[in-house]
Amino acid sequence: MKINFFRALVFLIAIFILSVFLFSLNKVKIYDTQNLVGQSIGSFELKSVNGKEIINEKILKKNQYTLINFWASWCAPCRAEHKYLMKIKKNSKNLKILGINFKDKEKDAKKFIEEFGNPYYFLAKDYEGRSSINFGIYGIPESILIDKNLKIIKKFIGPINHEDFNNILKLTK
């Protein structure tokens, strides 16, 4: 039987296109920055909210674990996760939280802390958001769990919930 070359080619191309659609459409690809897990956060320098201290990577190296939490007083999901941050502070012995107040006003940030409590061991400010890029942040709230070698153990994109809270306690035991 003589096979028509062009028909075979058209058939193969159709199969190829269908396979591409089949594989691509079945693949759920929600963007996140989980690729940073395992990498080092590198060097950084931030001013504390009161402007008196400098917070950098050398300070974090002294902690067993640090949870870097980006938050703002205007961010509603940050309010939702705040109670879990308070719980983490209470229940975790090896972990200190660095809060980075993102694109906020000092007055509003202080009011927020007074109202909901202060879970932060260090409180830094990033009012222009420049430092957030250095941490691979693209929205808040976002939290990064690092060890004393500054290696990223886990990234929490979105507000920390009960499951994340348990996970953090387990990871920092």
């Binding site: 062009f6 080619l9 963007y31 920055t33 690729n35 940073l36 990498q39 694109k103 222009e128 958001g129 420049r130 957030s132 890029i133 250095n134 941490f135 691979g136 693209y138 929205g139």
Partner: protein, 125 residues
């Protein structure tokens, strides 16, 4: 006297614009190749989102620090993955994307050539 001051101001303004014109062009070029991660199919050049504004500030800082275009792309790729750049680097995962248009072009040319040749032969016969 006032005229001289205005003239001096005008000259200084033009010198300043000339000095930074190159940086502005580079900024625009980089903005167009950076994806706004929180937008729907927009580059940071087209977007006014908070994320795009912050990224623009960082690009300006890096240019001022004397970083090259490639160094800026490398830095952002390290932080956000290859997804942040519209023109990804050539690698084993995307080689088909780069070569497929050329392959299709060559294949199309071959098909047209064979068809024309076949038609010519049929005409002769």
């Amino acid at each position: 006297m006032i005229n001289k001051i205005i003239l001096l101001f005008y000259i200084l303004l033009n010198v300043h614009n000339l000095c930074f014109a190159e940086d502005k062009e580079l900024e625009k070029e980089i903005y167009k190749n950076l994806r706004c991660l929180v937008c729907q199919g927009q580059s940071i050049s087209d977007s006014n989102s908070d994320f795009a504004q912050t990224l623009k500030l960082v690009v300006q800082d890096k240019i001022r620090e004397g970083k090259s275009k490639q160094e800026i792309y490398d830095f952002l790729t390290m932080k956000y993955g290859e997804w942040i750049v519209y023109k990804p680097k050539f690698n084993r995962y995307n080689f088909l994307l780069w070569f497929l248009p050329y392959l299709v072009l060559i294949l199309g040319g071959v098909i047209i050539f064979i068809l024309l040749k076949k038609r010519k032969n049929q005409g002769v016969n």
